[in-house]
Symmetry: C2
Subunit: 109 residues, 2 copies
DNA sequence: TCCATATTACAATATCTCTTGAAATGTTGA
DNA sequence: TCAACATTTCAAGAGATATTGTAATATGGA
C-alpha cells in the first residue's frame, strides 16, 4: 500500500462515528449492512451516515453494492489489512516489540 | 487501549509529516533524535516540527527527554503496538483475513 | 554574566472537517 | 403512472487543523 492511501485510511478511521461503522461492518461480515441499518447502529442521522459512509468508501475502508432499494456496505478486509501491514512492516520495520503488542510474538505487552 | 486514545493516535498518524516523523523515530530506535534532527529529516521548519512533535507526544505516539540542550524524542513502541492491537483485535475481532494481510497467517493477500 | 544554539509559544490566515436540515434522486410495488 | 421508502446531494455555520513568521524561553559554554 502506498503512503497516500494509508494516510487516507488513517484519517478516515480517526473519527469516532466512522471507527464504529467499520467495527460494525466487520462484525456483519460478508452479509454487510444497509446504510439505514448502519446509521441506526451508530446513532447517526441518515445524511450524516451517508457522509461518513462515502468518506470510508473513498478511503477504501468499505465497499458498497446496491441490492434492490438498499445499498449494502461491507468492510474491505483486504485494504484494512494492507493498511495495518503498511503500519507494521513498512512504517515500523516490523519491529518485534510492536508485533508482540499485537499478540503475534512473545514480548513487551 | 481505549477507543479515545486509539482515535487520538489514528488522527495523529493520519498526517504526512507526522507519519514520517514516527517512521524516522522508529528507525532511530532507543537512541532517539532531537527536534532539530527530526525537522531536518522530514523537511519541516522548526516551529512546524515542534507543533507536530507535541501533537504526536500528546497522542502517545512518541516520548521526549531533555539531554543537555537537546530534547530527544523516541517512538513509543508500546502505545503504537497497543493501537494496532486495538485495531486488529478489539475493532476487527482479530479477523483472520486481516491478520493474514499483516503477514502473520496464510491468507488473502 | 553574556552569547549562541535549541526549542517552544504565539498570532494570523487559510483550509479542511463535522454537523444539520431540506431538497433531490433512485427504487420498488401497486 | 403513482406513492412510499432508502439514500444521496446541497448549502451553511461552527469548529478543528495546518502553515508561516516572529517572539519568547531554556540550556550550555566562555
Amino acid at each position: 500500500m502506498e503512503e497516500n492511501q494509508a494516510l487516507k485510511l488513517l484519517g478516515a478511521l480517526s473519527q469516532e462515528t466512522r471507527l464504529r461503522i467499520v467495527r460494525y461492518l466487520v462484525q456483519c461480515g460478508a452479509q454487510g449492512a444497509s446504510a439505514g441499518d448502519v446509521g441506526n447502529q451508530v446513532g447517526a442521522a441518515s445524511s450524516r451516515a451517508s457522509f461518513h459512509l462515502s468518506t470510508l468508501e473513498n478511503a477504501g475502508a468499505i465497499s458498497s453494492e446496491r441490492q434492490s432499494r438498499n445499498i449494502v456496505y461491507r468492510a474491505d478486509l483486504k485494504n484494512l489489512g494492507n493498511m495495518m501491514s503498511f503500519l507494521l512492516n513498512d512504517c515500523c520495520n516490523g519491529h518485534p516489540d510492536i508485533r508482540a503488542c499485537c499478540g503475534f510474538e512473545d514480548g513487551c505487552c
